[in-house]
């Protein structure tokens, strides 16, 4: 059980002028899973390697339970990192790979053997002891890598894209395994991913990075319900952004006046956002937050239907296109060309700062 604190952690690679990680401050709670999320190249691996001690930070500090570990060499940090490409030692058998960390700690052969077979059972790979890494499937390799990391009982487990090399089916299996194992060992786990869904399913806390900078940190729901800016909202599938002007609880937009309960921002220019699944299509009754538009396109998604609806904006605004996700059956109700009524529930409307 170890709490990890990053304080203004910064890495500027030699010869590069923009930092790969910039003043990253995070407190990652003990015994929980934290996801470092962000698009490719945003500095996730760099951050992880700094925690592992494989890269020296240019600035800032890393604390484990309040003690700085920046000066501690990798092998003494009790942090295990499982890399993006599993990196099983090709000249060793599965059990030698899994037992590697214990051998380095000088444990005797029998103890190692016993722990290795316990570990292989745990990751559901019994009986593969003597195989070589190249004789395993991708999913098996990933699980061996996980077993090899867990066997040394690290204070902090770092996983770099643990699911990225797997197909959809194996991904689900591996995700469950990581979840179960983490619950069982109550390990402080930090995992890196570029897939927001993965982060949402697996993590207790998500830290979203763009270009080395932290944009939002919090539980998964916050990223859907309370994104801090347009970019965060877009990364989590937000697509409806309507510029407006806030006065109290009313926002003037191209759709007319919208009521909203969000009080996060002060009066002035804002951007209204609502998730496509929160826009109600064709519902009668409500008087406020209503817009009329024309169905431009519809896509049948099996469990859902997705519509693009263009709304004539008043007051000289350009026309707005809203995306709406509704019941799969509604695909027949609203053919392309039809005029529909859209309702934007006030409690589902969220405001983010206007960007210029």
């Amino acid at each position: 059980m170890t709490q990890v604190d990053l304080q203004k952690l910064t890495k500027i690679y030699p010869g590069s002028d923009s930092p790969a990680v910039h003043a990253l401050s995070l407190t990652m709670p003990s015994g929980r899973i934290t996801a470092l999320l962000g698009p490719s190249g945003c500095g996730k691996t760099t951050a992880l390697k700094m925690i592992a001690g494989l890269i020296t930070p240019s600035e800032g500090n890393i604390l484990f339970d309040g003690d700085s570990i920046v000066g501690v060499p990798t092998e003494k940090r009790e942090v295990v990192m499982a890399f993006q490409n599993h990196l099983l030692f090709p000249h060793m058998s599965v059990s030698q790979n899994v037992g590697f960390g214990l051998k380095m700690r000088g444990l005797d052969r029998h103890t190692i053997q016993r722990r290795v077979s316990e570990m292989l059972d745990l990751v559901r790979l019994p009986g593969l002891d003597d195989r070589r890494p190249h004789q395993l499937s991708g999913g098996q390799q990933q699980r061996v890598a996980l077993a090899r990391a867990l066997i040394v009982e690290p204070r902090v487990l770092l996983l770099d894209e643990p699911l990225s090399n797997l197909d959809a089916h194996l991904r689900g299996e591996m995700r469950e395994l990581i979840h179960d194992v983490q619950q069982q060992f109550k390990l402080t786990t930090i995992f890196v991913t570029h897939d927001q869904e993965e982060a949402v399913v697996l993590a207790d806390q998500i830290a979203l990075l763009f270009e080395g900078q932290l944009h939002q940190y919090g539980p998964p729901q916050a990223f859907y319900e309370r994104p801090l800016n347009e970019r965060v909202a877009r990364f989590f599938g937000g697509i409806n952004f309507i510029p407006g002007y806030k006065r109290g609880s009313v926002i003037e937009t191209g759709l007319g006046q919208l009521q909203c309960y969000s009080a996060a921002l002060s009066d002035g220019a804002v951007v209204v956002t609502i998730r496509p699944e929160n826009v109600a299509i064709g519902r009668n009754g409500s008087e406020i937050n209503v817009a009329h538009g024309r169905v431009e396109s519809s896509t049948y998604l099996g469990t859902h239907a997705r519509f693009k609806v263009s709304v004539q904006a008043g007051n000289g605004h350009p026309p707005l296109v809203l995306e709406v996700v509704a019941d799969a059956s509604s695909i027949h109700l609203y053919p392309v060309g039809q005029t529909v009524k859209l309702y934007l529930p006030p409690e589902k409307i969220w405001l983010v700062p206007a960007e210029d």
Partner: protein
């Protein structure tokens, strides 16, 4: 280091397709190398063999008695050659690993210059260099000594060793070392358990080059050894000059033997998948 096995089928298929190919290659090398030495073998047992005769008219063991007899220079020369070639090989490995790593793995300013300097001894006539070195060695008491000969052998040997190791490290994934460290391996453990096994085929291939180059070096040994350090090639030349064909032939066989033996022992690193890792491509 092999990154990911290129295809899984290789390991599942019975190994024999692979090993027949390997033994054919080894066979071809051995026959190609040994056949020219059949006449040598005959010469070494001959006593009288004049022009029109197809085979010697009289046979004798004189040459071989000389080679393996007491108080002859042959065994001593064999010993010298062996010690010098081994020491040169070990030293060149010690130089080749870090130098090859730097060249193969890292980009740094002046890399082209360093590469040129390493290659230079293969282009510049060794004689030109050796003359200068001789003067320096005399000053430091290294001339006419075994350590001096070992050091001067490093001139032709090191470039090959460094180049082989550089190509090994160019195909090497240093992330394995990072992985080992996060699992708790100390620096020497990382080297011993991770780096060394990965570059081992390259060390064998480079070492084979190094050993054979040093083993057959004549001119530099003569110059720096100053007649005090008599290795096999030196002895061989003096007998060749004296016109004693039988002894020359016997010494030639002794001379060539270890090289062929080395080649056979290391053949599994010269063929098949390991060869690419060793930096000489697939044979």
């Amino acid at each position: 280091m092999q990154k990911v096995a290129p295809s899984q089928s290789i390991s599942i298929k019975p190994r024999w397709g692979n090993s027949v190919g390997r033994w054919l290659a080894v066979g071809a090398i051995v026959v190609g190398l040994l056949l020219p030495f059949l006449p040598l073998l005959i010469w070494s047992f001959s006593h009288r063999w004049y022009f029109p005769a197809v085979a010697p008219t009289e046979w004798s063991l004189r040459a071989w008695r000389y080679v393996f007899g007491d108080n002859t220079q042959a065994l001593q020369a064999l010993g010298y050659s062996f010690v010098i070639a081994s020491a040169t090989t070990l030293l060149s490995i010690a130089i080749g690993i870090p130098a090859g790593r730097a060249l193969g793995l890292h980009e740094f300013r002046g890399k082209a210059l360093v590469r040129f300097l390493i290659l230079a001894p293969t282009i510049v006539p060794p004689l030109a260099v050796a003359m200068g070195i001789h003067i320096v060695f005399i000053r430091y008491g290294l001339a006419n000594s075994l350590p001096g000969v070992v050091l001067v052998h490093l001139i032709p040997v090191t470039p090959y060793m460094v180049l082989v190791m550089a190509s090994v490290f160019a195909n090497y994934n240093p992330q394995y070392e990072e992985q080992a460290r996060t699992l708790g391996a100390r620096p020497w453990q990382v080297f011993w358990y991770v780096t060394l096994p990965a570059i081992f085929p390259g060390i064998i291939v480079g070492g084979l080059f190094a050993f054979i180059i040093s083993w057959s070096e004549y001119l530099l040994t003569l110059l720096i050894g100053g007649g005090q350090v008599i290795t096999l090639p030196l002895l061989l030349f003096s007998f060749a000059n004296s016109g004693d064909n039988a002894i020359t032939a016997a010494l030639s066989i002794v001379f060539i033997g270890p090289a062929v033996l080395f080649l056979i022992l290391t053949s599994r690193y010269l063929t098949g998948r390991n060869a690419a890792i060793g930096g000489i491509g697939r044979l």
